[in-house]
Amino acid sequence: MKPKAMLVSLLGWLVALVWILPFMGVFMTAIRPLDELLNGWWNFQTFRPTISNFSGAWNHPTAALSRGMLNSLIVAVPATLLPLFLATMAGYGLSRYKFRLRTPLLALVIIALALPQQTIAVPIFQMMNALNLVDTYLGLIIVHTAWGIPWIAFFMRNFFTTIPKAMEEAARIDGASDITIFFKVVLPLAMPAIGSAFALQFTWVWSDFFLALILIYSPDKLLATQRIPLMRGVYHVDWGLLSSAAILVMVVPIVVYLILQRYYIRGMVGWSLK
């Protein structure tokens, strides 16, 4: 039994190694000068780490990530909080009231979960054009909000159906209105679920590429993800620069994931398992 258990452990860590190798590779490529990489980033005959690639990506002449990450933050914060607030209310409404449109709305939510963003792309572009909101963050934030509401509403509704109504009923007997009950009694109870939804929505908005691609085009307004494809060299791929940029852009969602891991996984599993 003992050797078998060891074999299983060995296999498990081997898998981990395979999965982490590309990360190590990107990291080594980012911190090592080009001439050291010619024999492979795994070759350590000389090792002179440098941060010049990171500062190169951060201050890139045409696609500076310093600006890109700030822009992404400017979009991601409101595009997370706004749908979170609206969809939590909607999820509560869907879980606590029986009304004629309830089932159709729930079906709509599930259908919206399945939609590819390509389906709304052209009309969204035309609408935003008509509203003078193309190439503005406001336009992008509105679309992210509308796009995030269905899954958050669904997730929150599923959460609310699992918490007992006793406290709400007690508050109602005390004469509190439904709106007071929601803000004073329900919201505090819902914080763990809201935390999950926050972690996921923030990560997704930060990671979004397609909606930004069709709505934002001024060079100084481009988001972080949009600047990554611009980091490639013209005649050859500048892997040092590209790797540093990749690391900078993925560090934000990875930090969110590491801090909110419990919420993140619960959101992922809970949302998927309905």
């Binding site: 860590w13 609206l86 993800t225 993140y264």
Partner: protein, 292 residues
């Protein structure tokens, strides 16, 4: 009764008004666009015939000549390779890592692929398969296969992307299956062991059937992801070389925002949406069960 309606409106209307204007209406508009020509005249199914018979979508010559086979075929290929691999790997890893010290850490590492922006994921795939820096080539050299940038050649670009995307997505199936395994009651296993059932028999007769609800979710979500795949293709190959790794979502973008043909792009979008809706029918069914 009136106050109740007021509350329903207060909670539900703001959110769904936004969804109605910025999701439902655009979808309807896209469906309409797919039946119009560029002057806005109704042309029936003409756009659909044009798109489905175009080489970007289905390329029958590719069957004898090799890639490109057309975006639609490429998506199907993606499903045929990526879905079984991620399911099997996720299940095996979930079972395996339960018995590994530090299994939770390994799971977190594997899950990183899910956490990073997919635009970065595409860069990572290119990196893995790069001629000089790619670890894949270092392994291949052991078997005497000469190094090349696998995403840059028509015959391997799509396959490299698909295998790279397995690396990205297995974290999802692993984490879901791990959560699923926790829900299987332990005494089921104990009873089977008392009866002298083999490990394989326990796996096929208890574990797999008990995980059925999870499997449905994992299959649905993975299919949706395979159909919607865009970012990694855009950044890694731009569908190239010569369309050899093109997919539907990218072709829709190219029609709409490069060729400025909103009608043909609408057709691709509608076809894509019909596929994703078909795929998510099982989820809609769980809703119906909920109501009854």
């Amino acid at each position: 009764m009136r106050t109740r309606a007021k509350y329903v409106a207060f909670f539900v209307v703001p959110a769904f008004a936004l969804v109605g204007i910025f999701v439902v209406y655009p979808v309807a508009r896209t469906v309409v666009l797919s039946f119009l020509d560029s002057d806005g005249k109704f042309v029936g199914l003409q756009n659909y015939i044009k798109v489905l018979s175009s080489r970007e979508i289905v390329n029958l010559e590719g069957l004898s000549r090799g890639f490109p086979l057309g975006a639609l075929v490429h998506n199907l290929l993606w499903i045929a390779i990526h879905l079984p691999l991620t399911l099997a790997l996720g299940l095996v890893l979930a079972v395996l890592l339960r018995n590994v010290r530090g299994g939770a850490v390994i799971k977190s590492i594997i899950f990183l692929g899910m956490v990073m922006p997919m635009i970065v994921g595409g860069v990572m795939i290119n990196f893995m398969f790069d001629k000089n820096l790619g670890i894949f080539n270092a392994f291949m050299e052991i078997f005497g296969i000469s190094a090349r940038s696998w995403t840059a050649y028509p015959d391997t670009a799509l396959l490299a992307l698909i295998f790279g995307s397995v690396w990205l997505w297995v974290g999802f199936s692993t984490v879901l299956y791990s959560a699923g395994l926790e829900t299987i009651p332990k005494d089921l296993y104990e009873a089977a062991q008392l009866d002298g059932a083999s490990a394989l028999k326990i796996f096929t007769k208890i574990t797999i059937p008990m995980l059925r609800p999870i499997t449905i979710v994992v299959v649905t979500m993975t299919l949706l992801w395979e159909l919607k795949v865009f970012d990694i293709v855009y950044v890694a190959t731009m569908g190239g070389p010569g369309g050899a790794s093109n997919v539907l979502a990218l072709q829709m973008y190219l029609y709409a925002f490069r060729a400025m043909d909103f009608n043909r792009s609408a057709v691709v979008a509608v076809l894509l949406t019909m596929s994703t809706l078909l795929v998510s029918l099982p989820l809609l069914r769980t809703l119906r069960d909920d109501q009854s």
